[in-house]
Symmetry: C2
């Protein structure tokens, strides 16, 4: 399944079974999280109207192009958000004891990392359901509009959105339009360092 | 498999098949990455000596306790590192065009997020191999010592380490020692917002 997963950037018109979406969400919440903080939230948009609101808030109405035109065909968008305060609160508890809530204690922002893991579980579950998905960021310049449109409370940061849908007849193509086609996967010997660098 | 995965914090003495470690690494590099940047690296420690060097660099020699004593029994440690510059370089390319290398363009640090996804694939592959794993952070105060011990170049940040090993006879227990035992998974209705908050 790991090897079958790829980003799908264009979708068939067929609707997605709501039960499949529920399984994606259920698996997303099985992601690991530091201290089991579970500082995440998922905005689920599964009607044409709600998906339209997403694109209106996060892109220019007149913007077009192969990537955006394809992505806008997705019948479902799930936005994964991280909630830093849930982590800082959790690590104030006695078994952790970081009562100063100092972010410098954190090697990296695990609220974003854990939420990313949850998004990967959504993508994997889509593959298991015979669907396709694509993970992408909400541009920082559009975060305020997204937040306002969907009533997202302060403190929740969109880590990324996942489009979900059935693959089109032709399989949806490979690689992002305009990207250096078929970039090479780095061979293991480039990225693995045994016993040290 | 998603439901079987859990953090294992104590291991049997049996060694891990090197081929299983290779499959973990191979799957790790199947993680998605923004722009297919693949800005990650993995330090693989699979001998008692190298694993000992890891604990010596990242913890106090006299430090003890159920968590640390258990984790130190792992025969394999894989440290996943992110490489921000690989992302900034990738997004300077013509199809992206972010030639100012401004990090404010990024919704969240996808170098950490993508490397976290790779770490999740290591954990999942461990389960598929009949092994256990645990993801945890390298304390910021110990990053310099870790970096020096293993010759990690500047620019690579340890996102987290994964211990890997066979489960002990008793299954390795549940929950971190000292943590509020069996914290509850947040129900879906707490974390899912349909059509908005």
């Amino acid at each position: 399944m790991v090897r079958r997963r790829r980003m799908v950037r264009r979708y068939a018109e067929r609707p997605v079974d709501p039960a499949a979406v529920d399984r994606m969400l259920s698996n997303a919440t099985r992601a690991p999280s530091a201290g089991f903080s579970q500082g995440w939230a998922f905005v689920v948009l599964d009607t044409a109207r709600d998906v339209g609101r997403f694109w209106a808030a996060t892109t220019d109405a007149e913007a077009t192009g192969p990537w955006l035109d394809g992505m806008r065909t997705a019948p479902v968008v799930i936005v994964a958000l991280s909630h830093r305060d849930a982590y800082l609160d959790r690590y104030c508890e006695p078994d952790k004891g970081w009562t100063d809530r100092d972010e410098a204690r954190w090697p990296v922002p695990y609220w974003h990392v854990d939420t990313g893991m949850a998004a990967l579980l959504i993508l994997q579950t889509a593959v298991d359901e015979g669907l396709g998905g694509c993970f992408f960021g909400v541009p920082p310049a559009r975060t305020a509009a997204f937040r306002a449109e969907f009533g997202v409370p302060e403190g929740y940061a969109p880590v990324g959105a996942v489009t979900v849908g059935h693959l089109p007849e032709d399989g949806g193509g490979t690689g992002a339009a305009g990207s250096p086609a078929r970039r090479r996967r780095r061979p293991l010997e480039d990225v693995v360092h045994r016993g040290g660098w």
